[in-house]
Amino acid sequence: MSGNGASSSSLNMISGEDVVNNNLSALVVDDSPLLRLLHDIHLKKYGLKVQVAENGKVAVDLFHLGASFDLVLMDKEMPVMNGVEATKELRAMGVTSMIVGVTSKNGPGEQQAFMEAGLDYCFEKPLTPEIISFLLEELNKHNNKN
């Protein structure tokens, strides 16, 4: 699967609309406890079941053990296994979850390398309610098709 995501500037934003999903699951992969907590609570507010992982290897191991998630929020810079490596590995395993890169502001080249690893989208952290709404709308569309 190749990443075909959009940058935040080309989004069709859904603003001010709450999308509550009681049957979607998410994995937050970030080495920062602060960001893990922030995105964990944010996604739970939208009704998702959330797990967290502190680096790419923990995330990959979860999938190896048979876990599955509709959405993966993947930080780029992490110790042990970074987001680029983890994304490549997950796609090589055949993981079809929506994988969304979450980065601090980097140069366009760095974001492109992350996208090419197999992301669906890549956004600057932290994710805003509008972006999370957009992602959940996309997830729902994707699930309705299947």
Binding site: S32, P33, L34, L35, L37, L38, I41, H42, K45, E77, S104, K125, P126, T128, P129
Partner: protein, 154 residues
């Protein structure tokens, strides 16, 4: 002090933090995530930030004191601090980190040292601001009141 007065004081104080650039809209997003199921969310996130920032600032101090300064390592630490400060809406800390990274890019040690002091100062200032904010919130809760919310566009 009456409850209404403390609530008014909190609102005015919070607004001043935005006006002075200490906080930006991201902080309001944090407050909106707090609810009855996570009543201490903002306090927890802000506390995590200050735990993180203390470690990172110590690492940066050590790294800049080395005979051969590893600018890649320094940039990585500052990058992390920028990310976490941005996540809690600590705007002045974030901006100080942006300036710091610019000096890392050109490997300017003196510039980095100045920026490190600036970041430390901004962390110290915003920590004091948060302590005051949380103290006012606690006073309101202790008086049986509810913490007023601030809308953007005030």
């Amino acid at each position: 002090m009456e409850l209404v007065q403390i609530q008014r004081r909190l609102v005015d104080y919070t607004k001043s933090l935005f006006m002075e650039g200490f906080l930006d809209a991201q902080f309001l997003q944090l407050q909106q995530l707090q609810d009855d199921s996570n009543p201490d969310f903002v306090f927890e996130v802000v506390s995590l930030f200050f735990e993180d920032s203390e470690k990172l600032l110590n690492e940066l101090t050590i790294a800049l004191d080395q005979p051969n300064v590893d600018f890649k390592k320094i940039d990585s630490h500052v990058h992390q601090l920028k990310g976490s400060s941005s996540s809690i809406g600590a705007q002045r800390v974030k901006n100080a980190c942006i300036a710091f990274r610019n000096y890392c890019d050109v490997q300017n040690i003196e510039g980095c040292l100045t920026c490190l002091q600036q970041v430390k100062q901004e962390c110290y200032l915003v920590k004091n601001k948060f302590e005051t904010l949380f103290r006012l919130e606690q006073q309101i809760m202790a008086s049986g009141g509810s913490v007023p919310t601030i809308e953007l566009g005030f």
